[in-house]
Symmetry: C2
DNA sequence: TCTGTTGGTCAACGCTTGTTGGCAACGGTA
DNA sequence: TACCGTTGCCAACAAGCGTTGACCAACAGA
């Protein structure tokens, strides 16, 4: 489909630098100049390849949560699997921290988070919760707990949240998430 | 102690405008010029009274969660009272949304959130959880759920989280928060 | 070998930002 | 009345921003 171009390496370097800067500093403070410097090229190249700063952000913030298929595993383990998966993703990929940073201050970032939520978390919830009609609500509840922990642990760095072990976090959060997704009543 | 000054009204106007701007736009996008315009004075006045932008932010982001005394009420209602209280605070006072916005992108803002957490939520947790030694961890867990819901509902505006009624949110979150604070084991 | 396309740099633009210092009006106090 | 600290506005500063267009070097196809 798309032919490989001589500039692919540069484009990739720009994207990687952009992801890191957006993740570390948020939308406003991550400047095109600093991203270009990280990528070792001229700022004008960023403009040529991605149009403008918003376009660069859009390209740099493509997100795949890589959610596992929950239908295949016993309902009793679902919470633990989900929480554990999210901790993994968050610790390996700083695009997620970036998404959080940008989603909070920038409307385009918020919209990006809403669409990721809708397209990737929604279907999962629909597959496992008792009444598919309120799957979105269940998904939002689960998201609130998972995002909240990510916020406390990886962005705000509240000391007790940082010091907890992975296992502790999973042990505490799993029942919560599982209840949000599968319980018949609050 | 402090004598009333002729400029008190101006100072207050600046602070109020600053709170609104920081809450609505975050630290970087809330400019001194826009704050001064809202307050109906010259930008240089902001500098004279608050030194610089960081000083203004520090003054504008004094936060009192006004947490109720949980010791006085039955343990079974604790979660509901807490969640309900936070929803109230968040809906009445946009400084809290501002704190969240700024805490995510700005290190001074994050430190402010950590200190509010330590000074105001910590003691409450210490008073009600079984082993005071792990009160900070309990408090962090409760905070993660409450902040996560605030994030989803008031900042990111995930549609299902916005559409839920106050009562629904309380009904779902209360057992979670209560478990984090008082349960013997995860 | 010539020619058109692509990858890249350089210098500048217009604008906004936080911040500064000078200067005029006001308001108590002596 | 004369004075002095306070309050406020104005104009400007240097720096940084996103963005643009001219220009050069390397390549690919004829």
């Amino acid at each position: 489909m798309t032919v490989p171009r001589r500039s692919d390496a540069t484009r990739a370097a720009i994207l990687e630098a952009a992801r890191e800067r957006f993740a570390a500093e948020g939308y406003e403070r991550a400047t095109i100049r600093s991203i270009a410097r990280d990528a070792g090229i001229d700022p004008s190249m960023v403009m040529r390849y991605y149009g403008n700063k918003e376009g660069l952000f859009a390209a740099a913030s493509e997100i795949d949560l890589r959610l596992p298929d929950l239908g295949a595993l016993p309902a009793t383990h679902m919470g633990a699997v989900l929480v554990s998966h999210f901790l993994d993703r968050w610790e390996q990929d700083d695009v997620l921290t970036g998404m959080l940073r940008v989603g909070v201050t920038n409307e385009a970032g918020a919209e990006r988070m809403r669409s990721v939520f809708r397209a990737q978390l929604g279907p999962i919830a629909a597959g496992v919760c008792p009444d598919p009609a309120d799957a979105p609500r269940r998904a939002a509840l689960a998201a609130s707990q998972i995002l909240g922990m990510a916020l406390a642990r990886y962005v705000l760095r509240l000391p007790p949240a940082v010091e907890m072990s992975r296992e502790e976090v999973v042990a505490w959060l799993a029942p919560t998430v599982q209840r949000y997704l599968t319980a018949e009543e609050p």
